[in-house]
């Protein structure tokens, strides 16, 4: 196997081991019984780290042209930020349901 490919393979395996460890940690945290906001923040933090590893090293975005990387990142961050605007409104609905107040 060519040296460049052999080095790439080493990198892929290292990322694989890292992803296995992170996923194992997620399962451990899930079983240990953290609740609510703390659990959500931890789980999503781990998922974001996994995303960075996969996108940079397994999808090789890191080796693309700088302009393309910026294009992908800006679009994705915009989309994810917009999605976060939507779900936070659920706190208002939850408050209505718990208090019985709100529009009839």
């Amino acid at each position: 196997m060519a040296t460049v490919e052999a080095q790439a393979m080493k990198k892929y395996v290292a990322v694989y081991v890292l992803l296995l460890v992170i996923t194992a940690l997620q399962f451990l945290i899930g079983y240990r019984g953290a609740e609510g906001e703390r659990l959500a923040v931890r789980m999503l933090s781990f998922a974001i780290v996994e995303t960075v590893l996969v996108v940079l090293f397994w999808m090789n975005l890191g080796s693309e042209k700088k302009n393309f990387i910026q294009y992908v990142l800006f679009t994705m961050i915009f989309v994810l930020a917009t999605m976060n605007y939507i779900w936070t409104d659920s706190f208002r609905v939850l408050w209505f349901r718990l208090t019985g107040l709100g529009p009839s």
Binding site: V13, I29, G30, L39, T51, M59, M76, I86, W87, L94
Partner: protein, 184 residues
């Protein structure tokens, strides 16, 4: 960048938006419902499915590496191993669904109350399952055509991009749908 690769990235970005919408809708329902069900007593099969998905992502990269150095037989074999992982994952996923259906979880009803639980569960996991099962079929077709000389390493790279993406989506589904809803 080759136009095919750019098109695949655009497709993936569009798919990210769809999955993000699904997860945001799930988060909305989950957070706004005080008595949201927590039906998952054990997630051993989900852990096994995750392991299979991660391992098949690695075997896909091995196929890509072999294709880049022109080792057709090795690349074909690794792709078929990846496809076997996809089939195994799909079967385990269907088994998981059958377990939920046997517990009485349907699209618009379930034994625990909030009707949205079933629909959101089946939509998110079903959308992922659809991607993985269709991806497995595509993987087999690409592998056969690559061996036959119709496709080259660039096409394997496109397949790799798609396969890594569906694996990544699963890594979001596991914590959001399963691990945050373990029975206490």
């Amino acid at each position: 960048m080759p136009s095919k690769k750019f098109a695949m990235w655009l497709f993936i970005m569009a798919d990210v938006m769809t999955f993000a919408a699904c997860v945001a809708a799930y988060a909305f329902l989950r957070n706004a419902t005080p008595d949201w069900p927590r039906p998952f007593h054990g997630v051993t099969s989900v852990a096994v499915m995750t392991f299979i998905m991660l391992t098949s992502s690695l075997t896909m990269l091995m196929a890509l590496t072999a294709a880049k150095i022109g080792d057709k037989t090795k690349a074909f074999n690794w792709m078929m191993i990846t496809a076997a992982g996809g089939i195994l994952f799909t079967l385990l996923h269907i088994r998981e669904w059958m377990g939920m259906i046997n517990q009485g979880v349907h699209l618009f009803s379930n034994p625990w109350g909030p009707a949205a639980f079933g629909s959101s569960y089946y939509v998110i996991t079903g959308f992922s399952l659809m991607h993985i099962s269709v991806g497995t079929i595509a993987l087999i077709i690409v592998a056969i055509r690559y061996r036959g000389g119709r496709y080259n390493a660039d096409d394997i790279e496109l397949m790799n991009l798609f396969w890594q993406f569906v694996g990544l989506v699963w890594l979001f589904i596991v914590p959001v749908v399963y691990l945050m809803n373990l029975a206490r």
